[in-house]
C-alpha cells in the first residue's frame, strides 16, 4: 500500500521559481509541499554569483512589490551592490548585487523552513496524475489531481506548479566528457518528461552554460581593474530599511581576453560539443559562451572578463563572460592567456548543460497550461534563463494557482504594467527558439516601467492578491499622495526674477530669468535638481528620499512620460478587446489559412495578444476586429 497525502498545492522543484511559487501559495493559506531532489540545494545559484543587473533588477523590484522573497533575501546576503547605467536615463538604471551564494541559499531555506503551511520534501517527482475533463464550457480537456514520487507515494492536490529548472533529463558537457547530471553534479530528474509527453505536452531541448570557478590565491589582481560597489547602497526590497544594509563591500575585478585567447578557441572549436554537433539544445544568444562570442564578433580584439567572488567564506572566484563547453585542457590554456589568470587554478570546470523544457506557447499568460486545469509552470522549464526571470514566473504561477483554488480572478500583468508582463507575454506569445533572457529593449514602455517606481505600479496588485499587508499598501497610497501634492506645489510656486534668484541661478550655471517661472519649470533644467532648489524654495517640507526621486523624474521627463502614456493607451485598447475562449476561428470569414491555424492552436486571450503572434498579420487582425464587432452587434 503506497503512502497517500492530501494537500492543496504541490510545487516541483525548489530553485528560484519553486521557492517563490511555494511561498506565495503557503502565505495565502494553502497547504503546500515543495519537492526537491536535494534540500541542500534550495535556492541554489549554480551560475553567476549575483542578483539583478540590467532589466533583471527591474524584475526583482517588481517581484518585491508583489510580495515575493528574492529582493528581501538578496538584501540579507549581498556582499557588493551597484546601481548600473546611472549615466543613462532613469528607465535603464538597474540594481545589481553580488551574492554570497551559500548564504543566499541558506537564508532562503530558512524562510521556507519557517513558513506556515509549507512542507519541504526531498524526493524526485516522477509522474503527474490527472483526469479527463468533459466540460464543454471549458477549453481544457484535463484536470490535475495529484502527483507520484520516485518512492511511489501519491500526493493528491488541486494544483501542481512545475519549476523543474534545468533538471529534466539533464546532461552536462565539458568537451568530450559528458555526465548525465543536473547542475553541480546534482541528480537529474529523468522520469517526469515522459509523464508530461503522455499528457500531450510538447517538449523541447535547450542548453545553457557556466564558466569556470578559480582559486582566488592563483589570481593576480594587480593586472586587473578593481570594481567597487556603490558608496550608498540602495536595497532591492521596498521593505528593507536602507540604513540596515550599508555594509563593508567586497570588490570585483575586470580583465580582458586577447587575440591569443581567441586563437586557442578558434583552433579547438571542433572539440566544442556545440560546434561539433554533440549538443542538440539551443543556447542563449544573449548570454553567449566565449566560443560563441569569438565566432560572432570575429572582429573584436577583446572581450570583458569579470572576476567575481562566490562568497565571503570561500576562495572560489567566478569568471564572468567566459562560459564554455570546451574540454578541460583547452579551458585551462584559454583562461591562462587572460591577464591576471596566467597561473590560475580551476576549482570547477566550465560546462554546458542540456535539459528538457516545454514550448511555453502552451501556457496562458497566467502560466497555466491551456489544456490542463490546475497545472502551472514557471522558470527555466518555460524556456527562460536567469534566476530573476525564474523567480517572477514562480511567483505569478504560485499566485494564479492560489487564485484558481480560491476561484478568484487570476493575475495577469500586461506589457504596460511591468517587465514581468513583458517577460511572460513574450514567452507565451512569441516564438522563442533559445533560452529567453530579460532585456531592457524588450520593454516598449520602459520609461514608465522604472525600477524606482515598481512599488507604485504593483503594490496594489500584491495587496489585492493578499501577499501585501494593509500597512504596506497604505504606505504606498500615502507615498503616492505625497508625490502628487509635491508636484502640484512645485508647479504652483512661482519664482520671481529677483536679484537673489538670479544670483542663485548664476551660481549653478543656469541662465537668468526674464519673467517669473514655476519651481517645476526650473527643475526641468538639466543643471538643476530638487536639492539645489532648496535654497530658493522657502515653503518646502522635508520629504522622504524616494518621494523626492519620483517628483524629480515625473517633472524632468514629463513630456516623454506623457507621450509614452499615450502609446500605452493605444496598446490597452487592443488588450481590452477580449476574445471569447469558445470562439470558433473557422467561423471568422477571410482569415488567411496560416493565421487561422495559428489562432486555433493558440487561443489568444485578447486581440492584442493575437496581434503579437508571429504569422498573424495586421490584415488578419482587421478581419478579427470586424468579426468581433459584428458579433457584438
Amino acid at each position: 500500500m503506497e503512502l497517500r497525502e492530501k494537500v492543496d498545492v504541490c510545487v516541483v522543484g525548489a530553485g528560484h521559481a519553486g521557492c517563490e511559487a511555494a511561498l506565495a501559495c503557503a502565505r495565502l493559506g494553502l497547504e503546500t509541499v515543495i519537492f526537491t531532489v536535494s534540500v541542500d540545494s534550495i535556492a541554489l545559484m549554480p551560475c553567476n554569483p549575483n542578483v539583478g543587473g540590467s532589466s533583471k533588477g527591474h524584475l526583482v523590484r517588481e517581484l518585491d512589490a508583489l510580495g515575493g522573497e528574492m529582493g528581501k533575501n538578496i538584501d540579507k546576503t549581498f556582499i557588493q551592490s551597484k546601481m548600473l547605467n546611472i549615466s543613462k536615463g532613469p528607465a535603464v538604471h538597474s540594481l545589481r548585487a553580488q551574492a554570497d551564494k551559500a548564504e543566499y541559499s541558506r537564508a532562503m531555506r530558512k524562510v521556507l523552513e519557517n513558513q506556515e503551511h509549507l512542507t519541504i520534501k526531498q524526493v524526485e517527482v516522477c509522474e503527474l496524475l490527472w483526469q479527463e475533463l468533459k466540460d464543454p464550457n471549458k477549453k481544457a480537456t484535463k484536470k490535475i489531481t495529484g502527483l507520484k514520487t520516485f518512492t511511489g507515494s501519491i500526493y493528491e492536490c488541486k494544483a501542481v506548479i512545475l519549476c523543474t529548472g534545468t533538471y529534466l533529463k539533464a546532461r552536462c558537457l565539458c568537451g568530450e566528457a559528458i555526465d548525465y547530471t543536473g547542475p553541480n553534479g546534482l541528480k537529474a530528474a529523468n522520469y517526469l518528461t515522459d509523464s508530461l509527453i503522455s499528457m500531450g505536452i510538447e517538449m523541447r531541448r535547450f542548453k545553457t552554460g557556466t564558466p569556470a570557478r578559480m582559486d582566488k590565491r592563483s589570481i593576480d589582481f594587480t593586472k586587473m581593474e578593481e570594481q567597487f560597489g556603490d558608496e550608498r547602497v540602495v536595497p532591492f526590497s521596498f521593505s528593507t530599511n536602507p540604513e540596515d544594509i550599508q555594509i563593508d563591500q567586497v570588490s570585483c575585478y575586470l580583465t580582458y581576453t586577447n587575440e591569443k585567447t581567441h586563437e586557442i578557441i578558434r583552433n579547438n572549436l571542433d572539440r566544442s560539443p556545440i560546434y561539433a554537433g554533440i549538443i542538440e539544445g539551443t543556447g542563449p544568444r544573449y548570454c553567449p559562451s566565449i566560443e560563441d562570442k569569438v565566432v560572432k564578433f570575429a572582429d573584436k580584439e577583446r572581450h570583458q572578463v569579470f572576476i567575481e567572488p562566490e562568497g565571503l567564506h570561500t576562495n572560489e572566484m567566478y569568471v564572468g563572460g567566459m562560459s564554455s563547453s570546451l574540454p578541460e585542457d583547452v579551458q585551462m590554456a584559454m583562461y591562462r592567456t587572460v591577464p591576471g589568470l596566467e597561473n590560475c587554478k580551476i576549482v570547477r570546470n566550465a560546462y554546458a548543460i542540456e535539459y528538457d523544457c516545454i514550448n511555453p506557447k502552451q501556457l496562458y499568460p497566467t502560466l497555466r497550461f491551456k489544456d490542463v486545469e490546475g497545472l502551472y509552470s514557471g522558470g527555466q522549464l518555460n524556456g527562460s534563463s536567469g534566476y530573476e526571470e525564474a523567480a517572477v514566473q514562480g511567483l505569478i504561477a504560485g499566485i494564479n494557482a492560489a487564485q484558481f483554488i480560491f476561484e478568484k480572478e487570476e493575475l495577469v500583468i500586461d506589457r504596460s504594467e511591468g517587465y514581468i508582463g513583458v517577460l511572460i507575454d513574450d514567452l507565451v506569445t512569441k516564438d522563442n527558439f533559445e533560452p529567453y533572457r530579460m532585456m531592457t529593449s524588450r520593454a516598449e514602455y520602459r520609461l514608465l516601467l522604472r525600477q524606482d517606481n515598481a512599488d507604485l505600479r504593483l503594490r496594489e496588485k500584491g495587496f489585492k492578491v493578499g501577499l501585501i499587508t494593509e500597512d504596506q499598501y497604505n504606505a504606498i497610497v500615502c507615498k503616492k499622495n505625497m508625490i502628487d501634492n509635491e508636484i502640484l506645489r512645485l508647479k504652483n510656486v512661482k519664482i520671481g526674477a529677483s536679484e537673489s534668484n538670479q544670483k542663485f541661478l548664476e551660481k549653478y550655471g543656469s541662465s537668468s530669468l526674464k519673467t517669473g517661472v514655476s519651481l517645476a519649470e526650473l527643475l526641468c533644467r538639466p543643471e538643476l535638481n530638487y536639492n539645489i532648489l532648496n535654497e530658493i524654495d522657502k515653503e518646502r517640507k522635508q520629504l522622504p528620499d524616494d518621494v523626492i526621486e519620483q517628483v524629480e523624474i515625473e517633472i524632468k521627463y514629463e513630456g516623454y512620460i506623457e507621450r509614452q502614456l499615450r502609446q500605452v493607451e493605444q496598446f490597452k485598447k487592443m488588450e481590452k478587446k477580449k476574445i471569447p475562449f469558445d470562439l470558433d476561428y473557422d467561423d471568422v470569414p477571410s482569415l488567411r489559412i496560416e493565421a487561422r491555424q495559428k489562432l486555433k492552436a493558440f487561443h489568444p486571450i485578447s486581440v492584442g495578444q493575437a496581434s503579437r503572434i508571429s504569422g498573424v498579420s495586421p490584415a488578419d487582425i482587421s478581419v478579427l476586429l470586424v468579426y468581433l464587432e459584428q458579433k457584438r452587434k
Binding site: 528607465a91 544573449y286 570583458q304 507621450r563 509614452q564 470569414p589
Partner: protein
C-alpha cells in the same frame, strides 16, 4: 459567413455605351449561369475556364433581356479572391437595372458600398492604402487624380512609406541593441549620425506632406471663389470657363443672390469655382446673406479670383475686398478692358499686396482667359504639373498620420539637441514608426477598417 454572393453595377449610372454588373462570391458562377445562355441557347457558363470572356445573352425566363459579354474569374485570382463574374451589357439605365434585378432574384444580394474592395482587403488581396486608392480611382474627378490613384494602387505610397519605416526601425534597433550589449555595440558618436538621419527623415515626411496639399488639389480640385463688386463680370467669367450659361447675367448689379458652384477643367486641373454675390454694403436682406456667404467662402478658398470692373473707380467696397483676400492666393482680373478704363492696372497694383497677379481681361470679348489659366497653374504647381515621378498623398487619414510622424521626428530631434540619454530617442522613434504603419495597414487601428469601408461607393 461573409462569403455570400454580392452584386452591383460597377460602372457609372448613366446612359453610356457599356455597363458592367459585377457578381462576386461562392455562388457567383451558379447565379449568372441561371440567366446566361450562349448563342445556341445553352447553359454553359460552368464549363468555362477561368479568365475567359464569352459572348451570349441574358434571359428572363424565355425572354432575351440583352446581348452581353460575360467574363469569368475563378478564385483565388480575382479582385476579391472569390469567384467573380462580370456581365458587360448595353449601358442603358433600364437594361442594366433589369439585369441586376435578375442577378439578385437568382441568389445574389446587392453589395453594400465598398463591399467588393472590402472583401479584397479582408482577403489579403490589397493593403489598406491600395484599398483607399481604389476608392479614389472611382471618385476621381480628373485625369491627374486618376493617374495618382492608379499609382497608389500600384503601391507607390506603400513603397515610399515602407522605406521610411525601415530607416526608422534600423535606428531603433541600433539604439536598443547598444543598450543591451554596451560591450559590443558602442553609441559613441552615434547622436551626430542620428541627427543627420532624423533631418533626412523630416525632409522626406515634409515632402510627402506638401504633396498632400497638391494631392488634395488634384483629387478634389482647387476651391476657387470669384469675388468682386456687383456687376464686375463675375458670372460672365464663370460662364466662359464653364462653356455654358450657368449664371444669369444681366446688367443689373446684384443679380447673383446666392453662390453658384461649377467644376471647371483647365489644362488638366480641376477648379471648383464658386461664383458669389457681389460684395457691397447692402440693405437688401437676401443679397445681404449672399454677401456674408461670399465672405465665408473666401475664408475657405484655395484661390480667389477678384474681378475688378476697370470702367468704374475703386471705392470702399474694393478696399474691403482687398482686405479680405490679403492672405490668399489670388488672381485679379482687370475686367471690361473693352471699355474705357477709369483705373489702370498699376493703380490697382499699388493698393494690393505684391504677390497678386493682375491680368487684363474682357469677359464680354473673351480675351485674357488663357493668361488666367496660365496664372493658376503657376500659382499651384510652379508652372508645370508633373505627376509621373511624384508620390502624392491624397487622403486625409494619411495626411494626419504623416503629421503625427513629423511631430514625433521633431521630438527626437529635440531630444538630440537637448542631449538627452539615447534611451529616450526610441520613445518618439517608435511613435513615428507606428504612425507611418497606420498608412500602409501594418499597424492596426481600432475601428479604422469599418470607417474606411463605409466611405466606399457602390460597385467596387
Amino acid at each position: 459567413m461573409n462569403t455570400d454572393t454580392i452584386a452591383a453595377i460597377a460602372t457609372a449610372m448613366s446612359n453610356s455605351g457599356i455597363g458592367i454588373i459585377r457578381v462576386s462570391g461562392e455562388e457567383a458562377i451558379h447565379t449568372v449561369d441561371l440567366i446566361y445562355r450562349n448563342k445556341k441557347g445553352e447553359r454553359v457558363l460552368t464549363n468555362f475556364k477561368s479568365h475567359t470572356i464569352h459572348y451570349g445573352f441574358i434571359y428572363d425566363e424565355d425572354e432575351i433581356v440583352d446581348e452581353v459579354m460575360v467574363s469569368l474569374m475563378k478564385k483565388p485570382n480575382s479582385f476579391t479572391t472569390e469567384d467573380v463574374v462580370e456581365i458587360n451589357c448595353h449601358g442603358g439605365i433600364v437594361v442594366i437595372n433589369r439585369i441586376l434585378e435578375l442577378v439578385v432574384k437568382n441568389g445574389a444580394r446587392l453589395a453594400e458600398p465598398g463591399e467588393f474592395t472590402k472583401r479584397a482587403f479582408l482577403n489579403g488581396r490589397i493593403d489598406l492604402s491600395k484599398a483607399e486608392a481604389v476608392m479614389d480611382v472611382i471618385s476621381s474627378k480628373n485625369e491627374a487624380a486618376l493617374k495618382n490613384s492608379i499609382k497608389q494602387l500600384q503601391g507607390s505610397v506603400y513603397k515610399k512609406i515602407k522605406k521610411l519605416r525601415e530607416d526608422i526601425i534600423f535606428e531603433i534597433a541600433f539604439i536598443e541593441s547598444a543598450l543591451d550589449d554596451p560591450e559590443h555595440i558602442s553609441l559613441e558618436g552615434y547622436t551626430d549620425k542620428l541627427y543627420g538621419k532624423i533631418n533626412d527623415l523630416i525632409d522626406n515626411v515634409n515632402k510627402l506632406l506638401s504633396s498632400a496639399e497638391n494631392g488634395k488639389i488634384i483629387k478634389e480640385g482647387i476651391k476657387t471663389v470669384i469675388v468682386g463688386k456687383p456687376n464686375a463680370g463675375k458670372s460672365s467669367l464663370l460662364n466662359i470657363l464653364a462653356g455654358e450659361e450657368k449664371a444669369i447675367v444681366t446688367d443689373i448689379a446684384g443679380t447673383t443672390r446666392d453662390a453658384l458652384e461649377e467644376n471647371i477643367n483647365i489644362g488638366g486641373i480641376s477648379l471648383r469655382m464658386i461664383d458669389t454675390a457681389g460684395i457691397r454694403s447692402t440693405e437688401d436682406i437676401i443679397e445681404k446673406i449672399g454677401v456674408e456667404k461670399a465672405k465665408k467662402y473666401v475664408e475657405d478658398a484655395d484661390l480667389i479670383v477678384y474681378v475688378v470692373d476697370s470702367s468704374v473707380p475703386l471705392d470702399e467696397n474694393d478696399f474691403e475686398i482687398m482686405k479680405l483676400i490679403e492672405n490668399k492666393k489670388s488672381v485679379i482680373l482687370f475686367n471690361k478692358s473693352d471699355l474705357d478704363a477709369d483705373i489702370s492696372p498699376d493703380e490697382l497694383k499699388d493698393k494690393i499686396k505684391d504677390n497678386a497677379v493682375v491680368i487684363k481681361t474682357s469677359t464680354k470679348e473673351n480675351t485674357g482667359i488663357d493668361k488666367f489659366e496660365e496664372a493658376v497653374k503657376k500659382l499651384f504647381f510652379s508652372g508645370s504639373i508633373s505627376f509621373d515621378d511624384e508620390v502624392m498623398i491624397t487622403n486625409l487619414r494619411h495626411k494626419e498620420a504623416l503629421q503625427d510622424t513629423l511631430f514625433s521626428l521633431k521630438q527626437v530631434k529635440k531630444s538630440v539637441e537637448d542631449e538627452m540619454p539615447e534611451d529616450f530617442f526610441s520613445i518618439d522613434l517608435m511613435s513615428a514608426y507606428a504612425s507611418l504603419g497606420k498608412i500602409i495597414g501594418e499597424e492596426v487601428e481600432e475601428d479604422l477598417v469599418n470607417e474606411i469601408f463605409s466611405k466606399f461607393c457602390m460597385g467596387k
